[in-house]
Every structure is written in C-alpha cells, then in structure tokens.
Amino acid sequence: MQTALTKERRASDLRKEIQGLVAQHHLNLCLECGKCSAVCPMVDFYGEYVHTRCTRSVVERLCFDPDSIDDEAIWYCWACMECTFYCPSGVDFQNFMMGFRQLLVSHGYSEYAHFCKACGAYLMPKKQLEYLEATLGNGNGNQELLYECPNCKKGRFVFNMARAGGVIWRNNP
C-alpha cells in the first residue's frame, strides 16, 4: 500500500515537472503548422517517417496521453535543433527534449537510454547509439567514442598522459 502510494505520488510529480518543462520551453505556443515535422531529419536516420515520433506529435502525446512516457517513440529525436530553428512561434523543442530526457532518467525510465560505461551518466538514446554503431562501426576504433561521456574521455586521456610522464601523443595499450 505504502509503495503504491509513493509510486503514484512520484508519477504525479513527474507529470507536474513535465508540465513545468512544457511551460518553460513554450510548447503551448504551437500552432500546428507542421514546419517542424517537415524539416525533421529523422526520416534520413531511420529510413522511414513515423509521425508519432516527430516534434509536434511528442508535444501532443505529453499533453494528452500520460502513457506515452513509456513509449520508445519519444526517444527517437536527435535534438538536432532543426525544428527549433524553423518554428515560427518560438517553441524551444531542443532544450525541452534534453531536459525531458534528463527528467525521465532521474525518475528511473532508463529502458531506452544509453549511459556512460565509466561514470554512468546519461549519454544518448539507445536508438541513436544503434544508428551510430551501424554507421561509425567497422572496427576502425571510432566505436570507443560511443561508450564514454566527454568528461570520462577527458579524464582517461589526462590519466594516461600523466602515467606516460607528460608524453601527450601515445596510443593506448
């Protein structure tokens, strides 16, 4: 009983925080003109256009469909800022998306998120990782970049440099 109540309260907290983000980033100014969906590059990444994943739809789902936070569709966005740039009403969707994912992760919705393997910080959606693995892959060493956050990468670099006695350019063993 206690657990169920707490869970409910946490869910309602999350909803309230989402509404706060919606107001902060002016999502309610949307006029449904469709420019954001037209410029969204998601179709290039995933090979198909699914309207439930695009900007306008995410906004609508968060307003009217409480279950949508469990749906993977809201993890497709790359936060590339195209929609934010073209929006005639001033909807700041990019920053909303970043803040929204942080919020979800902090509430334990980690199913579709990919984390830094060193420190455990949120890095990118799994969907984005899959795409990058497929494109950057081929064992050329670039894949390393996908698993650590910039902070950890920098830390490891500095650590290696110190151990090598100040020699900066040396390949990792």
């Binding site: 449904e32 439930t52 469909d65």
Partner: protein, 564 residues
C-alpha cells in the same frame, strides 16, 4: 435647327489601344461616306479636353443633331460624352457610343485588317441607330427625408443613430420588446472583455432620447410599397397597423444562434451548452475544472457550408475567461481549424496559448463524442489526429461553438421587399466586393448579420456604411434615372407575368387597365423610377408589348439592316 439628321462621327485612337490595331484614318474616311454623316474626325484621345471641345465646336458650327463617338467603353465614358453634348446644347440622349476598344481592338489584337473591317461595321451600325434616337428627358423623383431601419440590434442602432445625426428622420422598427438584439445575451465582448452593456446602453439611451428617431418596439413588418425616395411601409405595433413613409430602407434584421439539437448530447445533458446559452446562464466563470469546447458545430458541413467567421474568437474568449477565473482548470478547445482573422485576434489567440489552453484538432469525419450518464455529460472522446488514437477527456462542462444562422423570416422579407437571398439563406448584396451594403434595387441597403455572420466591429462598420449610402439619395433630394427604360403597351400585354418574375429590380407590377367603359383586365405596369433599363423584360416578353427606349426594335433592325 434644320430637321434633317446631321450626324458627327468622332473616332478615338485611345493612344495605341485602338490606333495601334485599327486603322483609324481609314475608319474616319469610311464614316464620311455613310448616310447623314456631316463630319467625321479622328482624335488621339476624344475624352481629353481637346477632343471634347472639338465635339462641342462641331455641334455648333455644323448644327449637328446626332453624335457618335467610337472609343473605349460606355461603362466608364458614356456619361462624360453625354454631358459634353448637353453643354453644347444637344439633348444627351441623341448620342450613341460605339465600343471600338473592348469589342474590337482588344479582342482582335493580332488581326489588324479584320479589326479595321469590324470597326467600320460597328461605326456604320452606330450611325444607323443614332438617326433613330429621339430626344428624351431624365426622370426625377422626389426623395422623402426619412429612413426606415429594420432591426434594433447593434447594426440597426448604429445605422439609425448615424442617419439621425446627419439630420434625417429615422423610423426604427424592432420586433422584440427591447432594443439591443443578440448582444444583450452576451456576457463579455472580445477582445477587451467589457460587458456589452457598457457599449449598448449609451447607444440605446441616445437612440431613445433622439428627437429625430421614432422607435417602434414589438412591431411586425407587414408590407412595403413604392420605390426609392417614396416607400410606404405597413407595420403592426401593439395590435394597430400604421403606415410609415420613408425615402430609404436599411435592412439590419440580424441572425439567430444555431441550436444543434440532438448532436453532441445537446438537449440531453444539462452541462452541454452553446456558447450563448452559457454566457446567458452563467454570470461568472468560476467552478468549472474541466471544460471542453467543441468548435465548428453545425458549420462548414454539408448542410451549412459557411464559416461562422468569429466563433473561434468566441471560443477563445470563453476559454480565457474560464482559465482566468480558475487557473487550475483544464480547458481544451477541439477545433477543425483555428481562424483568428481580424484586428488583434491573432494576439488574442496567442494569449490563449500562453494561458495554457490546450488545442486539439479533430477530423470532420471523426467528430468528438460526448458521453455521460443520466442528464450529465462525463467525458468527451475525440480521435487525436497527430497521435492517431482516441483520447478521453473528463468534463464537467461542454461548450458547443455554433455559427449564426439566417433569421427564419428572411424568406418572407425577401419576397415582400423583392431583395435577393443567397443560397445560405442570408441576404445577398448587389456585389460582394464593390457594393457590399447595397441591394440591386435602389434605396434598400443591408448591414450586419443579415448579410453574413459579422462581429461587432464589422456590424458597426457595415451599418455606418449603409447609413452613409442611404443618406446619398436623401441629401440629393431627388433621384434622377436614365431615360432609357422599358415601357409596357398595356393593349398588347397578354398578362403572362414573365416580366414580373424576371425583373431583378422589382419594377414591374400588375395593374388594372380599362378595356371598355365597364370592363377592366390585368396587365403589367412598369414603374419608371425603379427600372434600370436592363432589357430583360423586353427580351422575355412573348407579346412584344414591352419596348425599351434606346434599344427599340426599329433601332436594332436598322443596325442589322445597314449591312454592306
């Protein structure tokens, strides 16, 4: 002046408009060979002062008694040339216009030779016709210095006050017992959120206390007779019928609110109301936590194709007021499209967005469904087009935004006053763009919601325009009409009634004619003041009893018979 016909022909180059295609000197040369032509000349611009004075000089020098000008179009220039003839002492109806620009040079731009031949033909026909014209006098009728305003809503009130302040006697006829029209039931006006009484009461006060306005409340409109300048209207006020004599009429009968019985649970659930019902019943906006507003109820569908024009703004207004009264309320507007056209309305829409009112688009083929138990609606289900699934909204109030629909007695009024109704049931103005507050018949004007749904500023704008238009004939004191009008030969008339049906101006009516000392019979009678000389009756008359002066059979046959 000698009695023989002496025609002067003036052919205009119209710059290169005619001169660039038609060989004007050749046409002038040819005109000289035509019968009765005393002189013919070409001008660069006949409508310039040079051209006009040349016509006047020729009329005086050569004692011309007929003038033919072959130039641009009678639509813009006939009056000018007629006045010019008058200045030279020639009756203005002894003038004939040949349309060389629009009937010839513009339509045959790539065929100059053929165009020149056609120009000659046209001039020859003009000369043949002009010889048969007879001098005529304009018809002038006096205009009574009083106007009738039909309808005491915001449009009628503004029109009446404007006319009275211009110095005319005004008869204001309202069928209800109170002035103010639909605006009386409105709670607040957008976008300023003032109570409408702030705007109505001063207006009504000045109407009631105006020395030149007579207000007839609870009055029924019974009949209208007459024409511009001299209408006689019969009304029944408090059981007594009385006649009003006026010069002009303004129709501002307004419209009524559509009540969508049977749809969206209207009439079944107590908490499903139209916007006006809600404003009428709920003085304050407090106590509603979950409100759903459905727009386009009964508008833009098969039955009623038009857009209500300001319903979206009404929905925004009530949504904002509900949200302001109770900031925690969930207000959702279900719309097919949001239209916020008008001064400051887009900002008003912004204000609604900023206030956190939610907007959901619904599809025409999947309208929202209102569900509930007993007499109370509990939720609204709507197919969300962007999510592609149905969502459910809990409600404790559903507002239906309905358009204004034509008043039910519009058809009666239309038949009585011979003013046209459109397909949608609203009154049809003479021209949608160029004559928005006039009817085809003279002296009757239209304003406000009787023409099309109009918000307050539109209604007032239109009624002031109609008042100004109505003041024109009254200020002039008389109406002068063209002498080229139809006349009925009652001996030949077979009383078939075709001309009565076909006349767009309502100028033909029945009359009793005496056939012998004791017998009378019915025949068509034409009112010269109302006739515009369009010729429809002349063309439709089976007994050839109607003659249109200026276009008589003799003149037309002379034009045709003058072929080479």
């Amino acid at each position: 002046m000698s009695d023989s016909t002496r025609v002067g022909v003036f052919v205009c180059h119209c710059g290169t408009n005619i001169g660039g295609i038609v060989n004007v000197p050749e046409v002038v040369e040819y005109s000289r060979t035509l019968p009765c032509v005393e002189c013919a000349e070409g001008n660069l611009y006949t409508c310039s002062e040079d051209g006009l004075s040349s016509i006047r000089n020729k009329i005086k020098e050569l004692r011309l008694n007929r003038v033919v000008v072959a130039s641009c179009t009678p639509r813009t220039h006939e009056t000018l040339f007629r006045k010019n003839c008058e200045r030279a002492g020639l009756n203005k109806y002894l003038f004939e216009f040949v349309n060389l620009r629009e009937h010839c040079s513009w339509v045959h731009m790539d065929k100059p030779l053929e165009a020149t031949m056609k120009a000659k033909d046209l001039v020859r026909m003009g000369v043949a016709k002009v010889s048969l014209l007879r001098p005529q006098e304009d018809l002038a009728t006096e205009v009574l210095q009083a106007a009738l305003v039909l309808g005491g809503g915001i449009s009628g009130l503004s029109a009446a006050l404007s006319l009275a302040n211009q110095g005319y006697q005004v008869e204001l006829v309202e069928k209800e017992q109170e002035l103010g029209g639909l605006l009386r039931f409105v709670n607040r006006v957008f976008p300023t959120h003032q109570p409408p009484t702030d705007l109505l009461n001063p207006l009504i006060d000045s109407i009631l206390n105006h020395e030149r306005i007579r207000v007839h409340l609870g009055a029924e409109f019974l009949a209208v007779k007459g024409f511009v300048g001299n209408f006689t209207i019969t009304i029944r006020e408090n059981g007594e019928s009385q006649d009003l004599n006026v010069g002009t009429i303004i129709v501002a009968v307004g419209a009524q609110v559509h009540r969508p019985a049977g749809t969206f649970g209207y009439g079944r659930f107590d908490n499903v109301l139209t916007q006006l019902d809600f404003e009428q019943r709920c003085g304050n906006y407090e106590g509603f936590d979950r409100v759903v507003i459905v727009n386009c109820v009964g508008a833009r569908n098969e039955e009623r194709s038009y857009c209500g024009r300001f319903c979206c703004i009404v929905a925004l207004k009530n949504a904002i007021l509900l949200k302001e009264a109770n900031p925690g309320a969930e207000v959702t507007i279900l719309h097919r499209d949001m239209m916020a056209v008008g001064k400051f309305y887009e900002d008003y829409y912004r204000r609604a967005l900023d206030a956190g009112i939610k907007f959901v688009r619904y599809r025409k083929d999947l309208p929202p469904r209102v569900e509930g138990a007993g007499t109370r609606a509990e939720n609204v289900k709507v197919f969300h087009t962007l999510m592609g699934k149905e969502i459910e909204l809990d409600v404790d109030l559903v507002l239906l935004t309905t358009p204004l629909v034509p008043a039910t007695d519009n058809p009666v009024l239309s038949r009585m006053m011979k003013i046209p109704l459109g397909m949608d049931g609203f009154f049809l103005e003479a021209h949608q763009k160029l004559r928005p507050v006039e009817f085809p018949g003279d002296g009757i004007f239209v304003a406000g919601c009787s023409r099309y749904p109009a918000d307050m500023s539109d209604s007032i704008g239109q009624s002031l325009a109609a008042a100004t238009k109505a003041a024109i004939p009254m200020a002039r004191g008389k109406v002068v009409s063209d002498a080229f009008i139809s006349e009925v030969d009652s001996i030949q008339c077979s009383a078939c009634g075709r001309c009565l049906d076909i006349c767009p101006f309502g100028a033909v009516d029945w009359a009793e004619v005496r056939t012998s000392d004791h017998a009378t019979r019915k025949a068509a009678k034409l009112n010269p003041a109302e006739c515009k000389g369009c010729g429809l009756c002349t063309a439709s008359c089976l007994s050839r009893a109607i003659r249109l002066s200026g276009f008589t059979d003799g003149q037309i046959f002379a034009m045709i018979g003058s072929q080479r």
